[in-house]
Symmetry: C2
Subunit: 279 residues, 2 copies
DNA sequence: CCGGCCTACTGGTCAGACCAGTTCGTCGGA
DNA sequence: TCCGACGAACTGGTCTGACCAGTAGGCCGG
């Protein structure tokens, strides 16, 4: 046996060992139970004191494991609940959090985020146009009507009370119609991150009414394209709309990076009217 | 004042209150310090016992906070390190983990993942073709050469020793040339998740040599398109390549969802030769 | 029948202790 | 002079035991 090891010694790569901590093994076991379906959302884990006995560790280890699981969105502890920690349904919240963290540590620039949004939302529009069912259309029309109502009623607050709420519903309906949950999640996350970043710094108190009208016009066009099944147009509208809306919020040196996606002509001979993209 | 509240009572929405736990406020403060740059990667937090004094809480609260921060990839604790917990550089690891968890809980299907990869990698190719510098080209050529060498030398293991390593380097170089870190990260993450899912179940012991040759051929074509600055071709190659490679791994009912992206002709009149996409 | 109380839990937090491990200064020997 | 071994002074990891506030649900009295 030792000979075998010794003969291959040059090839043997010893990996860096790291002590396995007790709470980590608890996390592994609980995660595995959730992944394999032994623990389903809505079910409850034993109480901390029971887990402590089952795993044969102290309560601190159990608690640290539960903290990790909780921060990963897998369980939730409520004081006083005699049923114990609850197993949660899979949520996109952790995804949003980790992406937001990346963006907030300047690992991501606003330009990259907007560029990414152009990709995601144009794709969502494209897929929605080709795959939408009548139910999706109904939903979209309802969201559009809500937007229109809110826009005409005036925007009492820039908060999530009125227009932007309806707008979010419309966008969510589009991404749902695309049939790709990952696309939907990522689009929502990136949208959220962009909103967070912009809410932090400029807070441009622009004319809310005019913005709402422009957005309404844009979404109406998108709706028509989706209804007509014209995926190329729907995709192009998303790219153009995002560029028009966000280009001025970008630092000048980041603006050119949006262009390669913009002038990506889906159908030759139908060039976007060039001046519309100029600053 | 009460009148104001009482008058709007129908509109007042009371939010669900949740007790703020001690460790949560610690997490908040440390995160804030990292986001604002007061704590930079490589720096160290005070020891747990010092933090316990500074925050005025017990050591368990400090430890639970550190566990959460650690599971979010923001700090790392090493036993015995007299400098205390280290602040880590932003990493995409948490993003990968949360997405992997979503995929493993069946919240995401393989079809959605592959479809998303088609979007991400085709966009990466498109951007790379338009924005690549000469340095990027050199890097790509080197990775391609490494792939060729590994493919001809034979693949001793299907592990990350040879070909797939070089292939990963090539793909990473492409996404880096695209100039969008978020795109790069998401592409890498989704690629990783897909690999994990496929490694779990089928383990199709296909002819590694043939696969490597096909991949090499594909990447060579991508490289040529990027060098030529032909973004449309590069993008189409990515979509076609992914579809050919993964369609047979999908459950039949998920295969049609890839088509809308496939026959999305970037330039009219240049239809993909239909039979190439057939099974 | 219903509302309030009481018990038996729950999780949140703290204090104190021990252990294994790391770091680093010190000291003795070569 | 240099260098290795030793040990003090920490570190984080874990366990124990205790207390508190809060919840759920049964019990009892109205």
């Amino acid at each position: 046996m030792p000979d075998e090891v010794r003969g291959d010694q040059r090839e043997v790569r010893f990996e860096r060992v790291s002590p396995v901590r007790a709470y980590e093994r608890i996390v592994e076991q609980v995660e595995e139970a959730i992944f394999t379906g032994q623990l389903r959302p809505g079910q409850h884990l034993p109480s901390e004191r029971d887990l402590m006995i089952q795993f044969g560790v102290g309560r601190s280890s159990v608690r640290e494991a539960l903290r990790v699981l909780q921060s990963n969105g897998m369980v939730r502890s409520r004081p006083g609940d005699p049923r114990g920690p609850e197993v949660l349904a899979p949520s996109t919240e952790p995804l949003l959090q980790s992406m937001t963290r990346l963006a907030r540590t300047d690992a991501l620039s606003l330009g990259e985020l907007v560029q990414f949004r152009m990709v995601l939302e144009s794709t969502a529009n494209l897929l929605a146009a080709r795959l939408r069912t009548d139910e999706h259309l109904t939903e979209l029309a309802a969201a559009l009507a809500a937007m229109r109502a809110s826009a005409e009623r005036g925007t009492p607050e820039c908060g999530p009370t009125g227009f932007s709420r309806a707008e979010a519903a419309f966008r969510d309906a589009v991404t749902r119609a695309s049939g790709n949950a990952l696309l939907r999640v990522c689009a929502a996350v990136v949208r959220d991150v962009v909103a967070t970043l912009l809410a932090d710094s400029p807070a441009g108190a622009d004319d809310q009414r005019a913005l709402a009208r422009a957005a309404l016009h844009h979404h109406t066009a998108v709706f028509e394209a989706i209804r007509a099944g014209d995926g190329d147009t729907a995709a192009r509208l998303a790219r153009r709309g995002l560029h028009e809306h966000y280009a001025r919020h970008l630092p000048p040196e980041q603006r050119p990076m949006l262009l390669p996606l913009l002038d990506h002509r889906p159908t030759a001979g139908e060039a976007p009217d060039g001046d519309a993209t100029g600053a």
